[in-house]
């Protein structure tokens, strides 16, 4: 099963507007030396409500950049960002964003970090704290509520960040290699935790990763980006694996290997291009 098209696959859902719709997105950075760098060119991508989409691509191709455009942290040079049928202006408050790097406030405890996420919604402090406590328990950190971020392990910090994002109950989740710096086992544990939480209310997810296995095991659809500059989408694959999944076991599945082989053929070319370009730049 493969479909190299950006057309919405879920025909029955056509009436509902997509959770995220990127249309003709160009993103060009102005460089300090006066030059310009076009990171992303002509990207069309839409994520249906409840859909889990993974975006893979070689390093530096513009995955984070694209995600930031969907988050409203970055204004595209051209194109339209639509969120649940409305044009996006400013920060995308319907989305929760799990960052690649540490984003917790270091001066707040785990509990405070999670509870503060409710303050913009006007939840009273007492209630916010109760709900934060419950969320920390859900991500398995009941005993760590009063720790400061530096007293938590990398995996534990990610759990706090996950609770901080999910407590707001956003309709959309944007995730930028959220488990990137973690070791292999912790990644799997976090992946299963994420799938568990996601299964409960099926938010629309745009999940950026450079790890193809992780992308396939988590998502409904894998989108492949080409190497930069002017990166675009060169592949769009539906993942034919049933849910619920255990992301460790699913890697042994025959279908998993088949889809992995297909996507890798596209991705490999881009990874090699990116590598060659990087070499060239080093020699220059």
């Amino acid at each position: 099963m493969q479909a190299v098209s950006a057309a919405p696959e879920t025909a029955g859902e056509a009436a509902r507007p997509p959770a995220i719709s990127l249309a003709g997105i160009d993103i060009t950075f102005a460089l300090k030396d006066g030059g310009r760098y076009q990171a992303v060119k002509g990207v069309d991508l839409s994520v249906a409500p409840g859909e889990f989409v993974a975006v893979v691509g070689p390093t530096g191709c513009g995955k984070s950049t694209l995600l930031n455009a969907a988050a409203g942290l970055l204004q595209p040079s051209a194109g339209k960002v639509g969120i649940l049928g409305e044009g996006l202006a400013g920060i995308n408050l319907k989305a929760g964003y799990l960052f690649q790097l540490d984003a917790l406030m270091p001066w707040k405890t785990a509990l405070q970090n999670v509870a503060v996420a409710l303050e913009p919604q006007g939840v009273p402090a007492r209630e916010a704290e109760e709900r934060a406590r419950a969320w920390l328990a859900r991500v398995g950190l009941r005993a760590f509520t009063d720790r400061y971020p530096h007293m938590l392990s990398g995996g534990q910090k990610k759990r706090v960040a996950l609770a901080q994002v999910l407590i707001r109950d956003p309709k959309i989740l944007l995730m930028d290699e959220p488990f990137g710096p973690l070791d292999a086992q912790t990644r799997q544990i976090m992946g299963n935790l994420l799938l568990d939480l996601w299964a409960q209310d099926r938010k629309a997810v745009m999940f950026v990763t450079h790890d193809l296995e992780e992308a396939i095991s988590l998502s409904d659809r894998v989108v492949v980006m080409s190497a930069g500059p002017a990166a675009g989408i060169v592949g769009d694959y539906r993942v034919p694996l049933s849910r619920p999944r255990d992301i460790a076991d699913i890697r042994l599945d025959r279908d998993f290997h088949e889809i992995h082989r297909q996507i890798w053929q596209t991705l490999k070319v881009e990874v090699q291009k990116a590598y060659a370009a990087g070499e060239g730049r080093d020699m220059a």
Binding site: N92, F99, A103, M105, A117, P120
Partner: protein, 267 residues
């Protein structure tokens, strides 16, 4: 480090002190180098200094002077830190303001503050306020630069995350910028309290009728070397006590900071 070598180090440290005092004692009480009376005029003797210090500390007068110095130090610190935090914060958040005032701030900071002491004495009199003003000019810039830098270098990821959580400008201030500013204020706490004290003592030394600096100056003007040394000793003790209190406050307030964490070691 084992408890054994810890003990050893402490013993050696004590030994150094004893050696120093002994050398001082021998040099000033025997005719090994020169006439003891002459030596004592220049260097006093350890026993005399200790005796004088003890006598002073058990009397009431020195506490009055210590009180004055402490008041000046605290006032200089409070005003300097408050001003530094507010200005640092404002400048960090207002690019234009920072750009316009940049050369003036650099110039003002480059000026050796001691030369201001006579002017402050002229403006604010010989009482405590001229010393507070001197300490203020020292503390202000340290805190100002720290806070300015700290607020500007708030992690972009933490900031972006807070914005994604839907925080408005006021909430960003409260949960991100302000804690960052306070962190930097506290990380310069030792230095700024130290400078507040320097301002007070130097101010007193240059012209006043009370305080530790005044006591030292008074002893100096009558060539009372014992008095000068015991004044210095009291000042040192005072600084150590103050510094210990600052460390305690710091440990309380910066528990969240990496590197401040304590492990339970054996011994």
């Amino acid at each position: 480090m084992t408890s054994h070598s810890r003990l050893k180090i402490t013993l050696l440290q004590v030994l150094v002190a004893i050696g120093f005092l002994l050398a001082w004692h021998i040099a000033t009480t025997t005719s090994l180098f020169a006439d003891p009376r002459k030596m004592q005029f220049f260097f006093s003797t350890p026993t005399n200094v200790l005796a004088r210090t003890w006598k002073q500390l058990s009397g009431a007068e020195i506490w009055y002077h210590l009180g004055i110095t402490l008041t000046e130090t605290i006032l200089a610190f409070v005003f300097g830190a408050t001003g530094g935090v507010l200005c640092g914060f404002l400048f960090a958040r207002r690019e234009l303001l920072a750009a316009v005032f940049d050369p003036y701030i650099k110039a003002a900071n480059a000026l050796p503050r001691v030369v201001l002491a006579p002017i402050f004495a002229l403006w604010f009199g010989l009482g405590i306020w001229s010393k507070v003003a001197l300490g203020f000019t020292l503390v202000f810039f340290i805190v100002f630069f720290n806070v300015y830098q700290g607020v500007r270098e708030v992690s972009q990821t933490v900031l972006a995350n807070a914005r994604m959580l839907g925080m408005n400008e006021r909430q960003l201030m409260r949960h991100v910028y302000w804690p960052a500013a306070m962190t930097w204020m506290f990380s310069s706490l030792h230095t700024s309290v130290g400078f507040a004290l320097v301002g007070a003592v130097v101010g007193e030394y240059l012209g006043s009728s009370a305080g530790l600096g005044y006591k030292i100056h008074e002893a100096e003007s009558v060539f009372d070397v014992t008095g000068v040394f015991s004044g210095m000793l009291i000042l040192t003790i005072f600084v150590i006590v103050l510094d210990t209190i600052v460390t305690m406050i710091e440990n309380r307030l910066l528990v969240w900071r990496p590197g401040q964490s304590t492990t339970t070691a054996n011994g």
